[in-house]
Amino acid sequence: SISSSKVYVVYMGSRDNGDDPDEILKLNHLMLASIHQGSIEKAQDSHLYSYVHGFRGFAAKLTHDQASQMAKMPGVVSVFPNVKRKLH
């Protein structure tokens, strides 16, 4: 499943003013662990980046199925692939 995984952005909307960045990071790992049968190690391996200042979300390596699971989780607005943009 690792070899078939791709990078996705899990977008979770605005950040609450009281959100603690460390807590957000922990929550991201827990969300990832839940789709890795509870494995925090696998969650940490798949985690790439957390967005904590202007909005909430994170980037992770996921399979297509895991991305679909993630999209259904509470608090998730959208899950989309890590698309490449071009300079204009």
């Binding site: 909307g13 605005s14 200042h53 909005f55 607005v77 890590n82 490449k84 943009r85």
Partner: protein, 643 residues
């Protein structure tokens, strides 16, 4: 840049950017550039005479390869770089140069200096485009968010840059990049997502429309973005071509090489080699030319792609085949100047056919190509660049895109010597147009620091012009047709007018929530995005056309339709305006009320615009609504299509 700011009417002195206004507070405006980084040693980024970094700035100077904390200065006050998303996708990591905010590509230094570069005297590109170079807001501060590498920029990194920029405290964000058209939904697109939150935090986000050229190809379509099309100035880089029959033809080029004598000219199709057909060889593809047939000749090549690299590459192919020169026929991009590696010039299809006709009818046709030179004022300008992506908005046709146009053709600005051994370079693209608007946004912000992103956007759009410097309608390259709002949005920016728009169409974050409801986002999604108790029921409008935008687009007009807009008075307290309508062809437009009386600054007054089909036009039709008084003209484009 050496000419575009003068062309737009700004003073050439660094300290007085908009004649009649003091914009000394531009030192308090911080512009973030999400791009390929920066070459901080460029004279464009000197911090001489700049005061200390503004209080409240939370950014940092991230150290890395050939870049340390002290590389930043009072001009470049922040610099970060992002690789997570890139590293996760790309195999060729060894190709990454400068794992730091340092620019190895040149693009980021070019855009940053266009918007906010310091004045640099006697600048030029190999003698071309000579003059004093400067950005639009030369005393503004720069914060660099390097997310783009030679092969492109990934969503994961772009979002990280937005996230940091919002926290750091930038006032303006400039992006000269985007998705391939068609663009995805707003909340599955990193630029739309990041800019939504940036705008919610009061940051003005300026973006380029794209370089696809065709109708409906515009990208960066979100209404909270200020999306910029590219147009010309009145400066060209021309190269004379003398034919053996005495005819002199003018092409576009940045090649400074002269042919010493006339030499035989042939169509590249005559020099076909190996397995290539004459047709394939006419495009001067790699290995398609026979050295014996090409040696010492001027080759006429055709072009079918839009990239500068591929055009430049054709001159390399001709040079490697022993060719003495090249005439490249490219109708779409005939005005883009390319630094060919041999004596060469680009011409349009009509001129190309003239040359081919001479070649085909002459027993021993000859030609000679001369070095490029700078020519000012030879043609009407501005014109919309052929490559500039056009409307309508493919995602929400009720929101007109692009919003406005600015110079983006043959722009000289700072460069990275790591990319090629020069400090300044000439480039074309909507990438070059967007930072012109970014610079103007910074000037407005310096004079009106409390104005919202949408108020600033409104000031730029409602004061733009649809006439060129000869007071004629702006035309579109290459065919010279009359332009419309899908080409230039509200028109060509008028920086001398933006500080006194008189009236503005303002929109708050709450209006964008209503907009999201109107395009189908339900309450659950809305609350997730905003993390408040917003409901779609409490929103004040039902259709996306109702967003208080400085343009009106009605893509499916069925008999009648009414749109409401609200004006805010930012001029004198007591002011009377009357509406003047130039309706789209075949559509009657009335405005209620048609006369508006303001008696205080900041007062808001709403009006209705009623569209009624009279004689259904084919496709989209274009018009204007102007609120006028003795001092101000506040104009918005009207676009409608009857279904």
């Amino acid at each position: 840049t050496t000419h575009s700011w003068d062309f737009m009417g700004l003073s050439s002195e660094e300290t007085m950017e908009i004649p009649g206004f003091s914009t000394k507070n531009q030192v308090n405006v911080i512009i973030g550039f999400i791009d390929t980084g920066i070459w901080p040693e460029s004279p464009s980024f000197s911090d001489v005479d700049m005061p200390p970094v503004p209080a409240g700035w939370k950014g940092e100077c991230q150290s890395g390869e050939a870049f340390n904390v002290s590389t930043c200065n009072r001009k470049v006050i922040g610099a970060r770089y992002y690789l997570s998303g890139y590293e996760a996708e790309e195999d060729s990591l060894e190709m990454v140069s400068y794992r730091s905010p340092r620019d190895s590509n040149g693009h980021g230094s070019h855009t940053a200096s266009t918007a906010a570069g310091r004045y640099v005297a006697d600048m030029n590109y190999k003698g071309l485009a000579a003059g004093g170079a400067r950005g639009g807001s030369p005393m503004s501060r720069i914060a660099v968010y390097k997310t783009c590498w030679d092969s492109g920029c990934y969503d994961v990194d772009l979002l990280a840059a937005f996230d940091d920029a919002i926290r750091d405290g930038v006032h303006v964000l400039s992006l000269s990049l985007g998705p391939e058209a068609p663009q995805g939904e707003y909340f599955t697109d990193a630029i739309s997502v990041g800019s939504f939150h940036a705008a919610s935090h009061g940051v003005v986000v300026v973006s380029s429309a794209g370089n696809e050229g065709q109708q409906g190809s515009a990208t960066n379509l979100a209404p909270w973005l200020l999306t910029v099309a590219a147009s010309s100035t009145d400066r060209d880089f021309t190269s004379d071509i003398m034919l053996g029959n005495g005819a002199k033809i003018v092409g576009e080029s940045l090649s400074l090489m002269d042919m010493e004598t006339s030499t035989r000219i042939i169509s590249a199709s005559e020099a076909f080699a190996g397995y290539f057909t004459p047709y394939q060889s006419s495009f001067c593809l790699e290995s398609s030319l026979n050295r014996t047939k090409a040696r010492g000749r001027v080759l006429i090549c055709r072009h079918a792609e839009s990239s500068t690299e591929s055009k430049l590459q054709k001159s390399v192919v001709v040079k490697e085949a022993g060719g003495a020169g090249m005439i490249l026929v490219d109708e779409a991009d005939k005005d883009v100047a390319i630094p060919f590696v041999i004596p060469a010039a680009m011409v349009g299809r009509r001129t190309g056919n003239l040359i081919l006709s001479y070649v085909n009818r002459t027993r021993k046709p000859t030609s000679r190509i001369f070095s490029a030179k700078t020519v000012i004022g030879s043609r009407q300008a501005p014109r919309i660049a052929s490559f500039s992506s056009k409307g309508p908005n493919g995602l929400t046709p009720q929101i007109l895109k692009p919003d406005v146009t600015a110079p983006g053709l043959n722009i000289l600005a700072a460069w990275s010597p790591a990319a090629s051994k020069k400090d300044f370079n000439i480039l074309s693209g909507t990438s070059m147009a967007a930072p012109h608007i970014t610079g103007i946004v910074a000037l407005i912000k310096s004079v009106h620091p409390s104005w919202s992103p949408s108020a600033i956007k409104s000031a730029i759009m409602t004061t733009a012009t649809v006439r060129n410097k000869h007071r004629q309608p702006i035309t579109v390259d290459p065919e010279g047709r009359r332009g419309n709002a899908f080409d230039y949005g509200a028109g060509f920016v008028s920086p001398t007018r933006v500080l006194e728009p008189g009236l503005i169409y303002d929109a708050s974050p709450a209006d964008y929530k209503a907009f999201l409801c109107s395009i189908g986002y339900n309450e659950k999604s809305l609350r997730l995005i905003t993390r408040d108790n917003s409901t779609c029921q409490e929103q004040t409008f039902a259709a996306p056309s109702d967003l208080n935008y400085p343009s009106i687009a009605v893509p499916s007009l069925n008999n009648t339709y009414t749109v409401t807009r609200t004006l805010t008075n930012v001029g004198y307290a007591k002011n009377i305006y009357r509406a003047v309508v130039y309706p789209p062809r075949g559509i009657n437009v009335t405005v209620e009320p048609s006369r508006i009386v303001f008696d205080r600054y900041g007062q808001k007054i709403s009006f209705r615009v009623n569209f009624q089909v009279a004689a259904p036009p084919q496709g989209y039709a274009f018009g204007f609504l102007t609120w006028r008084n003795r001092k101000s003209r506040v104009t918005m484009p009207l676009v409608a299509q009857v279904t």
